[in-house]
Subunit: 239 residues, 2 copies
């Protein structure tokens, strides 16, 4: 099965969570919008007209004739197929629950620089961003990190479910990578209390296929068009 991933080619964004799973599994896939003419194909599929089951937004995945959207939903579908999720229902739902919590966290990261409207520029919402980022760093970031730290402590073997990595581990790696880029000062203060989360980041980055991917040109660099953005004025260490 050759999977086709559709996502904005110039950012990591939500698509990166899918890319990491496909890359870690060594799956056969095409990142369509990064191929010649691929952007037009993606835009055509994003047009509601003519689609039986249209996506509200990218990313979406084509697997044969099936088109699946919503990042966590795509990962739920791919998980067992890529051997990145357990096969039993309870295990799959637990990994999905963790992924949905990461999705909530990611939306809050986005809203740090876009608290008023996703269609506006950051420059048009700077005072509001400043307040929101301060609240995120003080209240939300420690809560999310602490939650995953706790799960890792319970599991006890390095990954969220124990000895075997799932797509949620790859996503947690991505959260740490993104947050270190966006909020280096705030993260530096919090890493000591969340040592298991930080160790997981290193463990995932060292997985052979992912290490090769991260060093390749297929990994789009983090930048100020994506979800994780570094604006020094937003990066204040938590008290």
């Amino acid at each position: 099965m050759r999977y086709k991933l559709y996502y904005w080619p110039e950012i990591q964004g939500r698509g990166e969570f899918i890319r990491l799973a496909l890359e870690d599994a060594g799956a056969d896939y095409v990142d369509v919008a990064r191929t010649a003419g691929g952007m037009r194909q993606m835009e055509k599929l994003l047009d509601l007209q003519g689609q039986a089951r249209p996506a509200f937004a990218a990313p979406f995945l084509k697997a044969g004739r099936q088109v699946i959207a919503q990042t966590a939903n795509i990962l739920f579908f791919l998980g067992p197929r890529l051997r990145l999720a357990p096969k039993d229902e309870a295990g799959r739902l637990w990994v999905h629950q963790l992924q949905l919590t990461i999705a909530d966290w990611l939306a809050e990261v986005h809203d740090m620089h876009h608290p008023i409207g996703s269609g506006l520029y950051y420059e048009d919402q700077k005072p509001e961003s400043s307040r929101r980022a301060a609240d995120f760093i003080a209240e939300r970031l420690p809560k999310f990190l602490g939650y995953f730290e706790h799960i890792l402590a319970r599991a006890g073997d390095g990954y969220l479910l124990g000895k075997t990595a799932t797509y949620a581990d790859l996503s947690l790696f991505q959260m740490v990578a993104g947050l270190r880029y966006a909020l280096p000062r705030a993260m530096a203060r919090m890493e000591r209390q969340n040592a298991r989360v930080i160790a997981l980041h290193g463990r995932v980055a060292a997985r052979p296929r992912l290490a090769a991917y991260l060093a390749s040109e297929r990994r789009v660099p983090l930048n100020r068009q994506g979800i994780f953005r570094h604006y020094p004025e937003l990066d204040r260490p938590a008290k």
Copy 2:
């Protein structure tokens, strides 16, 4: 199977999406935090310590010994069991995709009155709320309504998947009910262009078990502690 639902007893909030599914199916369930001593039971389960697979937040559902959190995840689990989702994988993923889009929409509704921080009062973020609500009404509300209007037009038989209701239909009903309460002026302007969504609201409300539920004391009234809040100053008709 007697399901146990855990959610804040004084609001509809995210728990209502689960309640609607359980009620429509005539399922055997307990809304634990609304029973004597139930709040303490819920708080105990929300404490990370001692939980094998702790929830980040309510709602969560106990089904036998399994504990499942994240609203859309709970509905994914319940869907086929309550005959509110297809049984085939592609159909289940499509309903889940719609539900996750509703979850994104709901988070944006929440952030209208909490654009800076969920731990702050609305009164502490009124100017920011005013800007965010204007953007939501002008840009996001028409986009979400239009998306579901399009799906209903394609399906052609009154529900999102055609003739048979799924939990996503119940959730779409809830979005309309909540938005009419929170933003009556903005919604009035948009209902004509989204007649199928509005008709679906009526169709769901008339389902016998749901009609009985909505008229009962089990339906918590909408109020200013929940996600859908009516602040007249935020409710400006879109241009």
